[in-house]
Amino acid sequence: MHAEREILFRESAAAALLDPQLRANFRRAMDGLISKRQAQFPDPRDLQELRDLSTAIRSRSLLRLPELLEQLEASCTKNGIQVHWAETCEQANALILGLLRTRGAKTLVKGKSMVSEEMHLNAFLEANGVEAIESDLGEYIIQLDGETPSHIIMPAIHKNKDQIARQFSQKIKDAKYTEDVDELTAMARKVLRQKFLEADAGLSGVNFAVAETGTLCLVENEGNGRMSTHVPPLHIAVMGLEKVVADLESVAPLYAILTRSATGQAVSTYFNLITGPRGADEKDGPQEVHLVILDNGRSRIYADPELRATLRCIRCGACMNHCPVYTRVGGHAYEAVYPGPIGKILTPQMEGVGVRHDLVHGSSLCGACGEVCPVEIPIPEILVRLRREATHSDPGSNVAGKGTGRLAAEDWTWRLWAAVLKRPALYRLATWFATRLGDALPAGAPLLRDWTRTRTKPVPARRSLSERMRSEGGSHD
């Protein structure tokens, strides 16, 4: 059952497992995040109430998505925010480059944005002569090393303090070596402060876009989001089209559950409500604000009533923090912009379920992700659905790459499995052999070989339960 398509995640995960430092960094960090979240939700009933409310808000927003997006565009336009639509990442990148070029912008300072990661914006801008500087501390750390985020909220979580200390002393000009976190933070702050003042433009993501008021909400802890959106003369915000909510009233519960689920904070240090460019009587703020709304496969996901739940995601990262697989292999092993459980359902839907079949099978279906998800996305159920989509071509399905992960060997395995298990006489024969052969099967046999890497061989009992009950007699209906 091992196909090429499954090798990708399996191999990179196996490599990650061999790195004890990486495993220790993730375990420590995830354990911390789990207990911080737990402390924010002391009463399971309160938590469930907030989850129900948040789920309802996100579901309702999605139900009215086309209408809310139109309303958002109108409200933003009224506020002086110019709205642009992009169906693909290429279009979004070109749009942003166009905005920068027409204003002669050479440097762009960025607040944290996963959508910009999805677009591979930094590489695109660099290739086109624009310097993009990450200003979120975690993003800044990984940009110094040319890495991608290993977590959607804490992009540099794969590194520990000592690794960052070494990195800063090598990569930041005139930096002295220190392991003091405050000193390290101050070093980055000093570099970035200058960048904020010099940048020609700023870019940010959007946590919630409010249709009624045309407000862009930005949740952050470092103030870099405010600096990126406030100091340069041009602010460009990018968002996936699912981020819209109807009104400001919808924002409060989502914000409350987002920060608690993500970092175990009751509130974030900064919560920005961006409503437009600098007014005539205002002393600061950008002269222009643009909003780029990206589709990139989302409307396809939206079209499926079950898979639509994927778009409820508020990007808190709780699913990764609680995932036993993510905790052990870290985010880079997924070789995807969005790692962890949400990435396992989002990436195959965006990139094609056949080519990323490896991801949908990289789960034990333990359900920890679905249990903590603040908007109750049934991630395990969607994983099973996508496994099905990868190997079957249902004519009613809209899933990208459906049926392209099909393998004759796997088909035959399941056909044979069903042929035996639906016929009691064949099952009886098979178990008779299994119990009599006992541990005669060589440990190197297919499947057993993989099982016995870390385990002894499972040995069937001498007599099956069915056999014993048959000889007991009298218990049958």
């Binding site: 399996r10 036993p324 399941w414 499995w417 069937p460 009992a461």
Partner: protein, 243 residues
């Protein structure tokens, strides 16, 4: 006399028949007539979870046909009970026999669930003092929705000390086909679980589910640990009966 059905599950049938027998005995002792229909095989979960729903349905349909009477169906497994209770309705959605399957699903119980919630059994511990640890199967808790029934039963045993695992609710790494499709990650999870279990100082690890037990046992054996695993049904039967 009240009657119930017993569904053994393939893993118990083949690897833990003593646990199956113990479950049947516990029910009989509570005054029930236990019907074990011949011809039962597998609930169909492996194919269902891999996306092979037609194959899963064929096998599931053959199981449902063995339990026609309106009696509780009791399983010594939270995972298989979750499959039959929660996922059969989904698997048979829109099928001609959906109503029949739904009625069946409504009668499904996991063993400890039935012992506690329905029978409200009272156990008397006859065993020597022992320290045990508890592994909560992910599907038993998160899918089926078991809420402390096994712990309630263990709590009735006067000489049994329950030492909790460091990460009681973390997956042991079995995950059915996951254990052979992703053997490296699965193995890493299993080794961590085995280490957590050893750190409790318990002499036996208990669970409701054969998959987890098979996995943790194999891992413990490979590292030559003295710690053993046992299905809760077998443990309860042994504790309440002098050897």
């Amino acid at each position: 006399m009240r009657e119930v059905y017993f569904y053994g599950t393939c893993l118990v049938d083949l690897f833990f028949p003593d646990a199956g027998m113990a479950g049947i005995q516990l029910l009989r002792e509570a005054g029930l007539k236990v019907i074990f229909p011949d011809g039962q095989t597998c609930c169909g979960q492996p194919a269902f979870n891999c996306g092979y729903w037609e194959e899963a349905r064929e096998v599931a349909r053959a199981q449902v046909a063995l339990f026609p009477r309106d009696l509780p169906v009791i399983l010594p497994s939270g995972s298989c009970a979750g499959m039959m209770k929660n996922h059969y309705p989904e698997l048979f959605h829109g099928q001609p026999d959906e109503a029949q399957v739904r009625a069946f699903s409504g009668r499904v119980y996991e063993l400890t669930q039935f012992l506690v919630d329905v029978l409200q059994v009272q156990l008397k511990d006859l065993g020597e003092p022992v320290k045990v640890t508890w592994h909560s199967s992910c599907h038993a808790v998160r899918d089926l929705g078991l809420k402390g029934q096994p712990q309630a039963l263990l709590g009735q045993l006067a000489h049994v000390e329950l030492a909790p695992l460091a990460r009681e609710h973390e997956c042991c790494g079995f995950g059915g086909t996951f254990s052979v499709r992703q053997p490296e990650i699965s193995g890493a999870m299993s080794c961590d679980k085995a280490a957590d279990a050893e750190a409790t100082g318990a002499s036996v690890l208990l669970s409701t589910d054969g998959g987890c037990l098979l996995n943790v046992n194999g891992t413990l054996e490979a590292k030559r640990s003295p710690l053993r695993v046992q299905h809760i049904a077998e443990f309860l039967w042994e504790r309440t009966h002098a050897r």
